[in-house]
């Protein structure tokens, strides 16, 4: 029997924690297509490297089933990759940096774009909840106008248990949709 592969996409604005999220749970070293950010730029104040094509992580279930996690590039100039990555996905996670209101508008726009690509279930992960300036998840729901039936989950992308919870909640949402 051929091996079955299942794909989930982790998306969100620039520097929202997508690569970190995948790194926390992937059983392989994440295959990142990252480029250094010039030290002279405003981007360098945010992070040193940025994803230009995609991040790639893997979780093997058994000999017949593998879950792939694809992280999208956050910068708009690489958004031609988004639709390619969205193709065939089982569901997607929208990462939001809860400490940066200047990225909320972009997060909402990315969410709408992915919703248009595929009518698959999704969850929103309110990342960096361990930082004191983080907006609480309940306030983010209102700020981003997330509908009540969509899960908005507090998250710390560098903590494995937190990432597990987000992926499990997405899988439960997928299961619920299959049952209806």
């Amino acid at each position: 029997m051929p091996m079955q592969t299942v794909k989930m996409v982790i998306t969100g604005p620039y520097a929202s924690g997508k690569t970190e999220f995948i790194k926390s749970i992937s059983e392989i070293d994440v295959v990142s297509t990252e480029a250094s950010v010039s030290k002279e730029t405003a981007e360098a104040q945010v992070k040193d490297n940025t994803t230009v094509a995609m991040d790639f992580g893997r979780i093997t279930v058994d000999d017949d089933l593998v879950l792939y996690l694809f992280g999208t590039p956050g910068q708009r100039r690489f958004d031609f990759m988004w639709e390619i990555l969205a193709e065939g996905m089982l569901g997607f996670v929208v990462m939001v940096d809860s400490t940066k209101p200047e990225t909320f508008r972009e997060a909402k726009s990315i969410l709408e774009t992915f919703r248009a690509y595929a009518p698959t279930p999704y969850v929103v992960a309110a990342n960096k909840q361990d930082i004191p300036d983080a907006w609480p998840a309940d306030d983010l729901r209102i700020a981003l106008r997330i509908e009540d039936n969509v899960k908005l989950l507090p998250c710390v992308a560098r903590e494995k248990e937190s990432v597990k919870n987000v992926l499990l909640q997405l899988l439960y949402a997928i299961l619920e949709e299959m049952d209806t």
Binding site: V6, K100, K164, L171
Partner: protein, 296 residues
């Protein structure tokens, strides 16, 4: 532990903040500050657009809320003393104002209010209406600001001696949007006019006490998931910007919600495309994934 919400009005406009405070029934005080450029740039969520970073300077205004209602506001340039508020509203003349400020400089607002009512200078209603109008004037003014850093301090309330008058926020948001000329914000808030609108649950409750203009009522009368916003604009003979302004106001006040427009044709089931080399998983596969992730 009380929490803070921090940001700038450039990222999160006052009407959005009021919408959040209203929906979450928050208690606390919103502080707005003069924007002081730091000389650095910040990068926003698309990874490309940069803009000048601003830090919080002198406080420009302070607005207090209790359980989602506006209760008090002071502007940085005003002391917020009751005598000044009554003077501004014309209930005290210049001489009365001067004498009261001299003789009752240390009296609390509540004590002063009692003195003035007992001396037949003003009525209780005069005081309530003056404080209410002063609060609204400050809030409507700050709704035209666009760059100020803000901090919302949960649980912080005005001093006990202040007179507070609770005001529902829906009307404040609608009026603030009517006065706004920030066209860029309306486009950002509502880029796509092909969406439709629907009423939230219990619309009659939501619309109770709301004062809508004729144009707003016309738009409301066409709200139906089958009518796109563009179609409503055409039916109401409104420009794209006119309809955006009305719809953003209704959205911010929580009176309507955006939905995908329903076509009059029977809906087609969306086709899910499997990726090359993959098959669509069933619930057995999803359950296996759940078990695996639980055990990681």
């Amino acid at each position: 532990m009380p929490r803070q919400l921090k940001g700038t009005l450039e990222d999160f406009h006052t009407t959005q903040l009021l919408h959040l405070i209203n929906l979450a029934k928050k208690t606390g005080t919103l502080h707005l500050y003069e924007p002081v450029p730091t000389g650095r740039e910040i990068i926003i969520g698309d990874g490309q657009t940069k803009r000048a970073e601003v830090a919080a300077g002198k406080e420009r205004a302070k607005v207090a809320f209790r359980e989602g209602k506006l209760i008090h506001a002071t502007a940085g340039s005003q002391d917020g003393h009751l005598a000044s508020v009554l003077h501004k509203s014309g209930k005290l003349n210049d001489d009365q104002h001067r004498i009261i400020r001299e003789k009752a400089a240390n009296a609390s607002d509540k004590a002063l209010a009692l003195l003035l009512i007992n001396a037949n200078y003003v009525t209780q209603n005069d005081i309530i209406q003056s404080v209410r109008q002063n609060t609204l004037d400050i809030v409507y003014d700050l709704m035209t600001w666009s760059k100020e850093p803000f901090v919302f301090e949960e649980e912080e309330q005005p001093p006990n001696d202040r007179i507070t008058v609770p005001v529902d926020l829906e009307n404040v948001i609608m009026e603030g949007t009517r006065r706004s000329i920030a066209e860029k914000r309306f486009i950002e808030m509502l880029p796509n006019l092909d969406f439709a609108l629907r009423f939230p649950e219990a619309p009659s409750e939501k619309f109770k006490g709301i004062q809508l203009s004729v144009d707003e009522w016309r738009v409301v009368s066409f709200i139906n998931p089958k009518n796109s916003i563009r179609q409503i604009a055409k039916a109401c003979n409104m420009t794209d910007m006119d309809i955006r302004k009305v719809v953003v106001g209704l959205l911010d006040a929580g009176l309507v919600q955006l939905v995908k427009a329903q076509s009059n044709e029977p809906p087609k089931k969306p086709v899910k495309r499997p990726a090359p080399g993959t098959t669509q998983p069933n619930s057995t596969v999803v359950n296996k994934l759940i078990e695996r992730i639980k055990n990681l």
